[in-house]
Amino acid sequence: MIDVLYFAWVRERIGLPRERLETSAATVADLVAELMAREDRYAAAFADVSALRVALDQELASFAAPLKGVREVAFFPPMTGG
């Protein structure tokens, strides 16, 4: 099981802040493909992954990164702090 978190407009588009999933995805990109195949709202949120960032266990990562051993995946737009 893996916890998947969504922030900002990704959260709004998908319609929930987090969910717990059973997945066999090997990489972040595989997980995105699985999610996009589920429902239109996921397909809309992940339509342009170049506009998104991903964190694995609260560290920024790439979409090619493996998911083995990861407990928490977060998807969000580029950050706008400060």
Binding site: Q58, A74, P78, M79, T80, G82
Partner: protein, 146 residues
């Protein structure tokens, strides 16, 4: 070194008073205050979302790097989340070092990293609706100088 992420307002003057003072070898203190700006007019409020857990870790890592690179005697970062009004303080950074150049550089480094690497997202709510603030290329480019 202190990092505080909070929804409550903070008192910039009180935070600055005494910051970095009393430490041996401190010759310079730089403080920076970020304020909610109404760019286009008509901003009624700003909502700041963040990623609890990652936010604290990411900023603590930045602060530790700044302490190491500029031999800081102390560093303070406060960043708010939740609902803020135009003109309200959003965040502050304070650095204490031996010399002015190190204190300024460390504060700028922290500001540049907070903008693009701390997991905060700003949403502007105005008379004409709500909009997520888009990240700027120049903010990402600013990281290149460090």
């Amino acid at each position: 070194m202190r990092v505080r992420i909070q929804s409550a307002p903070f008192d910039y003057g009180a935070e600055c008073a005494g910051f970095g003072l009393g430490g041996a070898g401190v010759g310079a203190v730089v403080t920076f205050l970020g304020v909610v700006r109404d760019d286009r007019g008509g901003l009624s409020r700003m909502e700041i979302e963040h990623y609890p857990g990652m936010t604290e870790k990411a900023i603590a890592a930045m602060a530790e790097e700044a302490v190491g690179r500029w031999s800081l005697a102390d560093v303070l970062v406060i960043h708010r989340h939740g609902t803020l009004q135009p003109g309200e303080p959003i965040m502050m950074v304070a650095t204490a070092a031996r010399h002015r150049k190190a204190a300024f550089a460390a504060a700028e480094f922290l500001m540049d990293y907070l903008k693009s690497r701390a997991p905060f997202w700003k949403k502007e709510i105005g008379a004409d609706g709500a909009e997520w603030v888009a990240a700027k290329d120049e903010d990402e480019d600013a990281l290149g100088r460090w």
